[in-house]
Symmetry: C3
Subunit: 289 residues, 3 copies
């Protein structure tokens, strides 16, 4: 990775010990607990599949595994692009795991939030071509993952929706979620969508520019592969520098305010009013089942 990544959670020691830039010795494919990774060395394209039932929520474990997997691929010269998708029907990712934000210690909140930051810094600043194959709903942190890719293809099903709906839960998307959103759809659409905590059904998401195209579910992987081939036709180096130039301002804003952002998250999350909002929301989710 080329990003200045700051202090890493201890759990990532393994990945950090990889000599940077060297391919992982024999491993061609590796699979972990909650994220499946398959690398097709002939095309240079990896598929990263979220498989954390019931709804691919982004727990500290999942975020850590996500970062390790992404770093391994970055360090593997055989890999030039990654397609992100879900192994669970109807949901891409439900976003941050709210249980990590409820009734825990300040230390836990800090560790969790650092992992969320790390995930985004690595993905948004990723040197490889990144494509989101959104095969289900994608609220909040799930939407952030899609928005951080180079290209978004969504299944053409109005039952699947996508958006930063934090405000609906009584919480606030942090500034770098907002910056990422604005970089995709512009200030005006972001202002309205974020204030309303809107979840946009796929056809509306397309109109707003939140996703780049819609395809029937059975065509999703084929389409993702075709788009990936188009992006991989570019010389890596020029594409990477261009990408980095386009995203630098927004990446730098978090990098230079990382500790403040963690402190802010701890303070905000520790408030009794916010804890109450989150508990109410979890209660509602439980009843929904």
């Amino acid at each position: 990775g080329v990003l200045p990544l700051g202090r890493r959670p201890p759990a990532w020691g393994t990945a950090a010990r990889q000599p940077p830039g060297l391919p992982l010795a024999p491993a061609r494919a590796f699979s972990n607990n909650k994220i499946l990774v398959e690398l097709d060395e002939s095309s240079g394209v990896a598929m990263m599949k979220f498989k954390s039932p019931p709804v691919n929520s982004l727990s500290l474990d999942v975020l850590t595994e996500f970062c390790i997997s992404l770093e391994k691929l970055e360090n593997n010269r055989a890999c030039r692009g990654v397609i992100f998708t879900s192994a669970i029907p109807k949901i891409f990712s439900s976003g941050l795991d709210i249980t990590e934000m409820c009734g825990k210690s300040a230390e836990h909140y800090a560790e969790f939030w650092r992992a969320v930051q790390e995930m985004w810094l690595r993905l948004y600043g990723c040197n490889m071509v990144t494509i989101a194959a959104v095969n289900g709903s994608s609220p909040a942190g799930g939407c952030l993952i899609a928005l951080s890719c180079d290209y978004r293809i969504m299944v053409d099903n109005p039952k699947f929706s996508i958006g930063l709906n934090e405000a609906q839960l009584g919480i606030v998307a942090p500034f770098w979620f907002k910056d990422t959103f604005v970089n995709v759809v512009g200030q005006r659409i972001a202002e309205r969508s974020l204030q309303l905590g809107a979840l946009h059904p796929a056809p509306e998401a397309l109109k707003l520019g939140l996703v780049d195209e819609l395809v029937p579910e059975e065509k999703l992987q084929e389409k993702a592969a075709a788009v990936m081939a188009q992006w991989l036709a570019m010389p890596d180096h020029a594409r990477q520098i261009t990408k980095s130039m386009m995203r630098k301002t927004v990446l730098d804003r978090l990098i230079s305010h990382r500790e403040e952002d963690i402190q802010h998250f701890i303070n905000f999350t520790s408030k009794e009013s916010i804890q109450k909002s989150l508990r109410t929301y979890m209660e509602m989710l439980r009843k929904k089942k």
Copy 2:
């Protein structure tokens, strides 16, 4: 209000003496000279109607009344949203009152400009949900009021137009008018529209994104109420922080250059060439009648 508002014009002493955050004692509705305010406590929605014949121009008096009225509503916990509209047929607001900018003293220009800034700082940074129900033409400062709201609904009549047409008058929309415009329609549309001092008929304004939707005149209030209900369904706190985050950069730019901006206005307006442009324009308006 949560905005750092700087020194206020003395005329606003009354409002400033209101203990912040406390509801206005018995008043359920209050009306003033040139702005009618009705608050429906059951819905939490206030209607603010401009009634300053002939064309709702924004004189120092009107601006002062606007700010006092808005502050009273902000301090009234029963009020969560405001709909802005006109009590005068065919015109929403004609913008800044040019007579305030002609043949007056530097002190007067300073006082006037501070009031214009204050109006915008309060409205653009308003914690309540703000909706413009644009029932007539809305040039220059009138357009600014609409652009500063959270949502804009305009009467579907091509005879009504909206835009920052300052350049047509030989004057220049200040940077924060421009920033507000850019935040709504983006850089490219703003560049062209502001340089041409364009007034866009309602259907064109919709296409450009300058307004969010058009409705027949008789449906305007009903539609504004429905949109307001949708926005008020959100938890206030999360929506307010999100709004503030979205608009902070642009608000801060004026807040940190407020005195320079006043000085710039005085210097510019005092120029004989500008005075001549403004007199010519007023002459033209008089002949039109």
Copy 3:
């Protein structure tokens, strides 16, 4: 010119000695080697035609001539607007002359790059109304010229394409090319288009907002003149200040990093890998003929 222009290449001494603001004594039209300039004093509109066979590439000579011609027009009070077009069929401009970037000395790279910067600073910051009448393909630096104008009209022919395709050549559009692009089409479209080094056929360019309108080839000059008349109907002073306000941020970014940008260009261009990419590309162009 009103731009702080820094040190100029010695070749421009002639132009620099022109007393600024004074009309060029008798000359009504002047023509040079590679750029034809005709000024219609009755309308105040100049036509600048690129005529540097075979493909109007922007060599150091052409760039120098471009800047001198533009400065002469700026200093001529009879001139208020310029239309840029090509005297060569099917190509507007092929962009920077790659031979200037191959196998030359660091001094040459510096001189060349300063001329490229100068061209853009003068054109993007030009006080006159500038319209691109794009009558052929317009890749890379050709696209930059079009994007730097106030308005872009392109011939409605899908065989003509436009875009910043640098990444296709293994090189990277510099940050101010990118900024100019983003100011026209927004961040998202720019991110994708620049990473893919895309050349957009005219109809697609219109959809993306890269050009403002398409017309049949035989209507191009007539249309350009009509649009120019519309822009010239505005008072010059207000329009100029508005334009300057809209473009200031992006202009200032280069102005304050000019020497670094030159150094960066020298370092990048001097790399053997980049030299190889450029030679390969030139080889390909030669074979195409």
